[in-house]
Symmetry: D2
Subunit: 355 residues, 4 copies
């Protein structure tokens, strides 16, 4: 196929990773890569990894950027997609949105957490949630509609929600977890998660050799996790920053239901493997093995491992992803693959550097 | 004063940090630094940071190493202290033990978690727990006895238990926390926590750029945390490894009691500050600020910050220490200061490098 | 094509990178991956990046490992290839050797620097030097011979010599450099260059946050650089270690000949670009831009940049590669591509992660 | 003593390290710490390492900041000191200048390299160069004048010149080095050397995992190195950036004079040790050992090691310092100690963390 794609916000970290993936994707063709700040600058000048690999130049994000486009990947801050998506869809351009704007089904929840009105809430019912392993049906419905001519809108899951939900979903589905209990999510991200903007927080000299928690009780991925896992009001989510570029690890502690038998780790790992049996990108590790972020960096893969805390009776599930891969650009391409009727793994076959 | 000290296991990471601290301590004098593996090697050859700073040579750990010693710091693996402490105490040498051997009050708990018999359990009643902020009384009793001629035995708290307990104790003391709930501890350590032994796990190329969880449900610091906080069977502790040398961050999630009012973060921070009002090494950060490990590396300080998760009703408390400082060598010196009647902060005044 | 390949020493860092590249190479098929230490262990257990990606199991390096093989990649320490290559060639298996055993044309030089007899010197005349950009002729001759049935022997260039020679060769070819002067090479490598063995030197806690020089005047890559550049006795080579996993930067200072005009940087960069006009993997950066190792990590690319020091009259040329890519596994695949008549870039199209 | 000091530019990296050193210095008292950007902000808010350690608040840099001050440390960009020093000296405030403004003895050289007029060149003759080991006489003269009431002006050496000159000086003094040859300096700095400003270059995600050269042939430390070593027009200096916070390593290659005998490394190391026999902060490592930056981070120490390249006949000397310690704040305090008649090591006794 020859699907013409635009990447909006292509100079940001998720955007430029999309550029990397789409440049090598056999079915997509990059029609434009936009960046308001870097319009006119060659991609290979801003990111020398592309030296000699592409002549693409960042352009302004105007109407011309979408001429003849089949799909736009929006790697933009929240509220920007609210403004752009309606017009693109009306032009027949499918939208793969990496922002948070269409993730939350209830606009009131969006408005409470993002503290801004949801100006495109009429699109929410048709927005497919972009986390194929846990919501493939929504994407397939969008693909079917697109095949009949209706541009698709995909709201790709956030990075923390992806790793967390992939780790927690099979446990919650098992019936072993206390339905009255809280689910504690402590997750750690690399610094790319903080974005390209040069700030004191992303300065090498403050980030290196440092661990910190942030956004206790206030991070906007909390309602997204609760929505995916269908456990409203039960998630305590604390994000952390660690000194690495790419990679995200989410550790989820789920208390066992009062009467539930204590599971053997081997059985739990088996349940998990069965849960993800049809999913090419989720690898459940054998009992006794826990995921390492380095083993998935640069890929669209998620590694998931489980353990059991006997004394306090809880399941501990751990998910590792590349926050820019399965947590952003990779997942967006995976969703686009589904929407355009391609094999889910197309263009996403990379294996992480083993060392 | 002129207190003669021996550091046993001085070539390990906690041991060599003890050497660094004691070399500059105005009241201690290093009588011997032992290392079975490096006996005969100058300290400055094994650790060039000491080039030109000391002529000390690692020696074997034999009787002569303790001649004229007032105190021995045991920076050794567990079970080694079981063998050494009785003889040293009998010789009148006070023991500051950094191993786990005398931390757990109940030898049965020790035997269950460490899977080895406790061969010196008769010493347990007199072992003072070495976490001054939460058990200063025990240390003061040991100091009083020492002043009357009885050698002291101090079991210094582990690194994870120190950061975790300092973060959790004021919340638990507040009466706000659900006494039936589980307490979730997700903690992250730098690689020095894995010790000096060169293994695949500590290899730069596997540790750098990587996050991982380990020891889910099985880490031996679990019963120690439960003992300090007096919440047996209620702790789910998951340790993690992150790519930095020194530094440890513990994030503790404590569910609020069903009827408890939701605390304001400011009030909670104030309670915390009051709790540690008399403690020179614990700094409670203002509401809205969370600790960074880099701000305590190289010191004996702990930074503690708190947050509140409204929806799921929980307190989140975060503690940051240097695992080799307040988590090991610094704390050992702090305990020795108490035992020998010195100001608690003597020799521990260092401020972290600001950047 | 369907070329059956064996990787010998596949559990080491260069070996496992070869496995990663060959698994995705459209024309090679992995017949065996050997490791004496890990025989019987699944590749995905030793390197979890491969979880779910391959069922390969490390095997012993015995005759069976090469059954039906067309080519063996030897990622082994020096002297091991001396033992293996003759037998493999005799069996008709082409050898792509990543060790140093067949790099130096003169066995006496080998014996002087490696302090061991060269036991297979009769093969030296037929060994093609594996640095296509600077010795493509040798590889093409080997390819022609192989096409007529004679197994090929390729001695892939070392990591430091590759980066250094690619940076220096165009300057030396320009006639501007003082033929009596010394050429100073200061190069910095990531820790993967020190190999997989867990040692104090590769321990995260000693390597992180540290820069050091090593092997002053004694590194075995010195004669290799001198041979490639044809400047015997004129190279001062000082390697350094820096805290990163993959990546190697070589800075080469070449004094201008007494009468030579001071070149403009722009002209020099143009000369360089012309020199490498036909080479897909060498990217000469525009004047004013210097290479970053991060822009080539994970790839077979080399970035080269130049500058001019006016006062002291010297050219400074800088080359960046991934020591495991263009410095080892990538280059080996590139050489194999040539030897087997494939396009040089086959299987090596990856672009570095931009961030 | 009780010397009242002001740190100007105290919120920058060198400035805040000065604050850390002076807070613990027994003879200096911090009268003011100025920062235009952070005036009114508590030091401990900007740099949480100081939480609980000081109540100092950054103030504007106005006349009041220097009331009653004996000395001002100027940690400011070049040209700023040109403006401030004359007034301070006129008020009787000694100036320890960390900028480049008074380092170059010849204002024409300053104007050529810094591309700005030297507006205070009348002060140049009295400015003492701040690199005690190589110019102690200048400092002692300033100290003598100060003792008689004349405020001192010290131009502290830059970071690269300090490490480089300490490594090169004994070789140049030995008579072994070719006086017609060029001296090649390849030096690598941690990211603190790039300053506190958050830029793309200092962004963790661009700096981590990356090595790069910069400023080939144009770095302003070139004439400073040539001045200190008295080898005008003979230095080729190429600085590099590596992924660590603090630490600087300079590798200096000096060709042997045509007739000079090839020195034994042991003899050379001995010469070096003799050269620095009276210097507390310079440690010459034994032959065969080369410096590691990690062994001096956080201190005012320099480690120096040497090697010999036989084939090409050159001495290779390597110097390691903490760029914020001996390369900036530590050296400034050392110079102030001399100027105020204190022991040179006062307040600078720290030993680096061994790991």
């Amino acid at each position: 196929m020859n699907i013409r794609a635009s990447v909006v916000g292509a100079a940001g970290f998720a955007g430029i990773e999309l550029v990397r993936l789409l440049l090598r994707h056999p079915d997509f063709e990059l029609a434009s890569v936009t960046s308001d700040a870097l319009a006119g600058t060659p991609v290979s000048q801003a990111y020398p990894a592309f030296a000699g690999q592409t002549d693409l130049v960042f352009s302004a994000c105007d109407d011309a950027a979408f001429d003849g486009c089949d799909v736009a990947f929006l790697a933009v801050p929240h509220t920007a997609s609210l403004g752009m998506a309606p017009g693109l869809l009306a032009r027949g351009v499918s939208v793969i949105d990496l922002s948070a704007d269409f993730r939350l089904k209830d606009p009131a929840v969006y408005e409470r957490w993002y503290k801004t009105p949801h100006t495109a809430s009429r699109l929410l019912p048709e927005a497919a949630f972009g986390l194929p392993e846990l919501a493939r049906g929504e994407l397939e419905r969008a693909a079917a509609a697109r095949a009949e001519g209706k541009a698709a809108l995909v709201a790709c899951a956030g990075c923390y929600p992806t790793a967390t939900s992939l780790a927690a979903a099979p446990a919650l589905a098992s019936g072993l977890v206390d339905e009255a209990g809280i689910v504690v999510v402590d997750a750690v991200s690399g610094v790319t998660g903080a974005g390209k903007k040069a700030t004191e927080r992303t300065h090498f000299c403050f980030a290196d050799g440092n661990l910190e928690a942030y956004g206790v009780g206030t991070h906007r991925h909390t309602p997204e996790i609760e929505q995916i896992l269908r456990i409203p009001g039960r998630v305590v989510f604390t994000p952390h920053l660690a000194p690495l570029g790419r990679g995200l690890l989410s550790t989820v502690t789920l208390p066992l239901a009062p009467g539930a038998p204590l599971p053997r780790v081997e059985d739990l790992a088996e349940r998990y493997a069965a849960f993800y049996a049809g999913d090419a990108f989720v690898q459940v590790l054998p009992a006794g093995t826990l995921p390492r972020t380095a083993s998935v960096v640069g890929t669209n893969r998620a590694h998931v491992g489980v353990g059991v805390a006997e004394g306090a009776r809880a399941i501990v599930a751990v998910g590792a992803i590349d926050n820019l891969g399965k947590g952003a650009a990779g997942q967006a391409v995976q969703c686009a693959n589904v929407v355009f009727g391609l094999p889910e793994t197309r263009g996403l076959e990379a294996v992480a550097m083993p060392v």
